[in-house]
């Protein structure tokens, strides 16, 4: 399968390990830059301009600042859990990239249970934020931790229902295989497979909303609702502890958007049949990420019960309907 890289297995894995770490680190740093630049443009200002050309070295300066700060563990906190939480937010995010097919041959470990693995590790992130909030012994952080759990439980359900719908259509959990099925022009992409299920675009919208909620992004940023909860679960974190939560957020956005690309937009498949797969994968990925940033700087935050109502009263019935519809179609067509 991995014909592009003729390396012995240990070296190949090492290369992928370094590559994944670099990819996640680079993305976390430069998505912050992109976010700040994007926010600047949406708000008719320039964003970072001082450090480097167009502020391109700003993430480096930020990283140095965060790394040089003292790690404060406030008195009264559960020191072990307090230190563990930032690691727990980052490590599973890295694991998710193991099965992610960046192109035809570029995947660290093509697993036939890839999709299941991504979701399994993707869910740990919630526990990490809850742990951080709980260990902080801060009232704002505890409120935030409680919110994160109920929010993620509520949104995991419609997301998985949507994914089950897709699985019924694709018949495999191998991410690379899912992409391969969508080859041959953009009308074969899952989002446009209206013959399998006429509600496919709706399915994508449900997935997208759930992804925003799962990654705690605006307008669903209940965990870090800074005008209500100061900094939510991260209130007591400083320096790189906070930095890791921050990186974890962006890493999760990258995972969510990669997954959306793979499941709905044909992954590394070219829509017109030219240029390498990696280029198309990254292009689709960053377009989706840009839309996530766009949403954040456009909408105000939802109310918490509004968020839960949206999930339980609209998204779950809708995704259940889609599920039933596509199973009926699969059965009788």
């Amino acid at each position: 399968m991995n014909t592009a890289l003729h390396l012995a297995e240990p070296y190949r894995l090492l290369l992928f390990l370094v590559g994944t770490l670099a990819f996640v680190g680079f993305n976390a740093a430069y998505l912050v830059w992109l976010e700040r630049k994007g926010a600047g443009r949406f708000q008719r200002r320039a964003g970072p301009t001082e450090v480097g050309y167009a502020g391109l070295l700003q993430p480096v300066a930020d990283a140095i600042k965060l790394l040089s700060k003292q790690l404060i563990v406030p008195p009264g906190t559960d020191a072990t859990l307090f230190r563990l939480a930032p690691m727990l937010v980052m490590a599973p995010a890295l694991m998710c990239f193991v099965a992610m097919p960046f192109s035809d041959a570029l995947a660290a470990r093509p697993l036939n249970l890839g999709l299941v693995m991504v979701f399994a590790f993707g869910s740990i992130h919630v526990l990490a934020i809850m742990l951080g909030g709980w260990a902080s012994r801060n009232k704002f952080a505890i409120i935030s931790a409680a919110r994160v759990v109920s929010q993620n439980v509520a949104y995991e359900i419609p997301m998985l229902l949507v994914v089950i719908t897709l699985l019924m259509i694709t018949g495999t959990t191998d991410l690379n295989e899912i992409v391969r099925q969508q080859g041959g022009g953009f009308w074969h992409w899952n989002i446009l497979r209206l013959t399998a299920n006429p509600l496919m675009p709706v399915t994508f919208v449900v997935f997208y909303i759930c992804m925003l909620a799962e990654t705690n992004r605006a307008p669903f940023d209940m965990a870090e609702a800074e005008s209500e909860l100061v900094a939510g679960a991260f209130t007591e974190y400083g320096g790189m502890g906070f930095g890791l939560f921050f990186m974890g957020e962006y890493a999760n956005i990258v995972i969510g958007c990669s997954l959306a690309t793979v499941l709905f937009f044909g992954g590394w498949q070219s829509p017109i049949g030219v240029w390498p797969g990696l280029f198309w994968f990254l292009l689709k990925l960053y377009l989706l990420i840009f839309s996530v940033i766009w949403v954040r700087w456009t909408f105000p935050r939802t109310q918490f019960y509004g968020l839960l109502n949206l999930s339980w009263k609209i998204l779950i019935p809708l995704s259940l309907f889609v599920l039933v519809l596509s199973s009926v179609l699969l059965k009788f067509l």
Binding site: A39, R44, A146, S227, Q303, Y305
Partner: protein
């Protein structure tokens, strides 16, 4: 949508905790502390603790001359400094029986209304920030910047103006200001359409504001709440209409009133009010009379005759009244300041009972509190 919080004693002991909102908190926009007794995310009791930036303005009024107190007034509510200075100078003028030239009154109306606009624009941005929307703030401040530039050209300061003087205003408007104001009015009008399309009609915003934080007219009356808060509860109380001061009686404008009493009503009142301010400014600029801007016979050492005098204006946040007592000396005997934010905050405790924390913060944002205005 209102959550159920009234529980009977049969439910067993309730676990509540105290949450200190402030004095440093992003949503209080200043050093206000609110002691919240919370049941989960529901507020069972919210006790505002003002006084963190109490600066004794009233006491300071008692140990400086009538004119020397003038700069203090613009530092009480720093966002609508013009209207506050207006109330004080007008009160002294009333006490000392000084006649203000018509041109000065017109200039006062124009600058006060510009200041009201800039104050409401800050509120608009900050309120949306409270609700988690960052971008409107920058657009509002962009518009506000034009007002600040205009007022800076005229008065020399951008925020804490000391432009009105006892007997008039300190310098005349020039052609640049008049033209700049006309241009601003023309530029500002279409912006309201944009704000309506992008912000007011946003479904998330409407969900967050409609039906949230209802304040009845009765509650407003009990606590003495004024301004957009009482007009958002359906009471057409605006000092500019009910006891017209200066030359407000000569202009054609409406008092926007929304009867719902929720956060959305207060939001709409302020948005409408900005459009009405533009109308007033336009009319005042068109009809600006010629003449002096300072009364001819203001004594250098002011000694108003003994007596008691009160003057109220409609500031951006409600009724601001100055009551001065003179014993015939060059220093006031008493300066009493009735500030709108204090009364508007007072109803928060009763209005926020049983609300969720984010809703209560939306309610607080819709009251448009300026903390120095509460503490004085």
């Amino acid at each position: 949508m209102m959550p159920q919080t009234e529980r009977s004693a049969a439910d067993g002991p309730q676990e509540t905790f105290v949450l200190n909102l402030g004095p440093q908190h992003p949503a209080t926009h200043g050093v206000l502390r609110v002691k919240l007794t919370m049941d989960g995310e529901y507020i069972t009791r919210a006790e505002p603790v003002p006084g963190y930036i109490h600066r004794m303005h009233e006491k300071m009024g008692e140990n400086r001359t009538w004119a020397q107190f003038l700069p203090n007034t613009s530092r009480i509510d720093y966002l609508s400094a013009m209207t506050y200075t207006h109330a004080y100078v007008a009160a002294v003028e009333r006490a000392a029986r000084i006649e203000v030239p018509l041109r000065a009154e017109y200039i006062r109306v124009i600058t006060s209304e510009l200041n009201r606009l800039s104050s409401h624009l800050v509120w608009f941005g900050a309120f949306l920030l409270d609700l988690g929307g960052f971008t409107p703030l920058l657009y509002a401040f962009d518009d506000r910047e034009k007002i600040l530039d205009l007022l800076e050209g005229l008065t020399g300061s951008r925020l804490t103006y000391c432009y009105y003087r006892i007997g008039g205003v300190c310098n005349d408007v020039d052609e640049a200001f008049v033209q700049g104001t006309r241009d601003f009015v023309a530029q500002m009008r279409p912006r309201f359409g944009m704000y309506r399309d992008l912000v007011t009609d946003n479904v998330i915003l409407r969900k967050r504001l409609e039906g949230i934080g209802p304040i009845s007219a009765e509650l407003c009356r009990r606590y003495g709440a004024t301004g957009p808060v009482i007009r958002g509860a359906g009471v057409p109380y605006d000092v500019r209409k009910v006891e017209p001061y200066s030359v407000y009686g000569q202009f054609d404008f409406e008092i926007p009133v929304f009867p719902e009493g929720d956060c959305m009503a207060r939001y709409r009142v302020r948005m409408e009010e900005m459009a009405q301010s533009l109308r007033i400014i336009e009319q005042a600029i068109d009809r600006l009379p010629a003449g002096p801007v300072m009364a001819p016979s203001v004594p250098r050492v002011l000694k108003p005759p003994p007596g008691d005098c009160c003057f109220a204006v409609e500031a951006a946040r409600g009724r601001f009244a100055v009551r001065i007592v003179s014993d015939g000396k060059e220093i006031p005997y008493r300066v009493k300041l009735r500030t709108p934010s204090f009364s508007n905050l007072s109803l928060f405790e009763e209005a926020s009972r049983g609300m969720l924390l984010p809703d209560a913060l939306a309610l607080m944002g819709s009251l448009d509190l300026v903390i120095p205005d509460i503490d004085r």
